[in-house]
């Protein structure tokens, strides 16, 4: 049901029955290694190209989610997935092998919540019984496309972020009231594209912060709640600079947020001694952290109600070279248990 200007309420509370999370070597050495279902020691993952390895990540995450739920691919009506690679080929190629009717999504690093919001909407209105939704990224494949060759010895500034190698997939299903201690989605807010004129592609967090602030504000206005409604508000991949900026922006807008209840997936995923500059990023960042770590914590009882705000920078290497600024977007989904 539409609520306010740009939010949906999911009265039927679609259930996130199971999730699958895969990751690479850097994530295996990271902060949340135990929350990954599949971890690879090699970036190639037994394939001959990074793009193929990228596809493997999504396939494995999807298979894991299916296995955990006891369902097969035939039980799934739709797959909603996306990534950062040109023409989202890793997701589409994985969809070919999974043989599930497919919606390809592109919302850059906000794809995870774009997918979860749309899936919740479809399941809520009986458009499907079961949906798989997820997002993925592969560090080397993304670096190759957006920046320099992986082995190029360029120095990254401290504002840069490290693309997560990983995929997170969730299996969304109708809530028949039999699920206990299983998270479900209750609302979503779709963000609008914001451009604050920043042009530095090595400072995505700073560029994306206004989009996150705008979506959070819209969410609170539409639902008539404030920050205290949630045990945790977690952003997708803002990193250090983005998180500080969004906190300041919210304060400016008169929205009070508790520093301890405002986290960022990009800051959670790696250890502080890993050379990731400002934090993690990429479409797989919010997907792996939410579908792995955060949902596990919810099941343990750490959080009862969270708001996930995935942010995406809608740039391409071409627009950067042509001197265009970086438009950004953020989508929010609230999850309860």
């Amino acid at each position: 049901m539409l609520k306010g200007k740009q939010s949906w309420i999911f009265e039927n509370k679609p259930v996130i029955q199971s999730t699958g999370v895969s990751g690479g070597p850097f994530e295996g050495n990271g902060n949340l290694a135990k929350d990954f279902d599949v971890l690879h020691e090699d970036l190639w993952m037994g394939k001959t190209s990074y793009e193929q390895a990228h596809r493997v990540l999504l396939e494995e995450a999807a298979q894991t989610a299916l296995q955990k739920s006891g369902r097969t691919a035939e039980d799934i009506q739709f797959l909603l997935a996306g990534d950062l690679i040109n023409q989202i080929t890793p997701s589409s190629f994985a969809a070919r092998d999974l043989k599930i009717p497919y919606f390809g999504l592109f919302g850059a690093c906000s794809t995870s919540m774009e997918g979860l919001a749309l899936s919740s909407f479809i399941v809520n209105y009986n458009g499907a019984k079961n949906i798989l939704t997820g997002a993925s990224s592969h560090n080397a494949a993304v670096e190759k496309q957006f920046r320099y060759p992986t082995e190029y010895g360029g120095q990254k500034p401290p504002t840069a972020q490290w693309t997560v190698t990983g995929a997170g997939v969730a299996l969304l299903t109708e809530n028949d009231g039999t699920y206990r201690n299983t998270p479900y989605t209750t609302a979503a807010t779709i963000g609008k594209v914001m451009d604050m004129g920043l042009i530095d592609p090595f400072n995505m967090g700073g560029a994306m912060a206004p989009a996150a602030a705008d979506t959070i504000q819209a969410h609170f206005n539409d639902l008539g709640v404030d920050a205290s409604h949630y045990d945790l508000i977690v952003t997708g991949d803002l990193g250090k600079i983005g998180r500080d900026s969004v906190m300041a922006l919210l304060k400016e807008k008169g929205i009070y947020t508790d520093e301890n209840k405002f986290k960022d997936c990009g800051l959670l995923v790696y250890k502080s001694d890993q050379p990731v500059q400002s934090g993690g990023s990429g479409a797989g960042c919010s997907a792996t952290v939410l579908y792995g770590h955060l949902l596990n914590e919810m099941k343990k009882g750490t959080y009862k109600r969270i708001l996930v705000v995935a942010t995406g920078a809608l740039l391409s290497p071409l627009t950067v070279q042509q001197g265009e600024s970086i438009p950004c977007i953020a989508h929010a989904v609230s999850i309860e248990i």
Partner: protein
């Protein structure tokens, strides 16, 4: 590359965001670049001496084999995945010497190997180094032209 005028709102945000931006440690980076770059150049000087003393090279001709050796070493380090880490540490120190040139070529070649030898390696090997070669050759041409004109004007030639 037309720069769009920023709205007051955008300017205001830019200022807010600036205070949270982690600054590049410029002085520290310069010191690191100075020492790493210096070490690479000292190594080059060593090779240069070796070529003069053990082979029949002179001070003028030892430059080519020295560059080739340094490029070869940087290619090995790139292939083993070490040079990009050195680059993150040293910045300009490992980018400016000829070893950085070698790294930019071989890293692009490795990266695009998956697209085949002709369109992948061949088409992309100079992706980064291409502009160095173009503008390097062009500026050498301009400098040589100026030198020639000056010498002609002074009636030396």
């Amino acid at each position: 590359m037309a720069k769009k005028k920023k709205t007051p709102q955008q300017k205001q945000y830019e200022q807010l965001e600036k205070q949270f931006e982690t600054k590049r440690p410029v002085v520290k980076n310069c010191i690191k670049a100075f020492f790493v770059g210096g070490i690479i150049c000292a190594l080059g000087q060593l090779f240069s001496f070796l070529y003069i003393y053990f082979f029949h090279f002179t001070e003028q001709t030892s430059g080519n084999p020295t560059s080739a050796t340094i490029i070869f070493l940087s290619m090995l380090l790139t292939g083993f995945g070490i040079y990009d880490r050195l680059g993150q540490f040293a910045g300009a120190g490992s980018a400016v010497p000829v070893s950085g040139f070698g790294n930019s070529i071989i890293s692009a070649a490795i990266e695009h190997r998956t697209e085949g030898f002709v369109l992948g390696v061949g088409g992309n090997i100079f992706k980064l180094a291409g502009s160095v070669i173009l503008f390097g050759v062009f500026s050498a041409f301009v400098v040589a032209l100026i030198k020639t004109i000056v010498l002609m004007a002074r009636g030396v030639m």
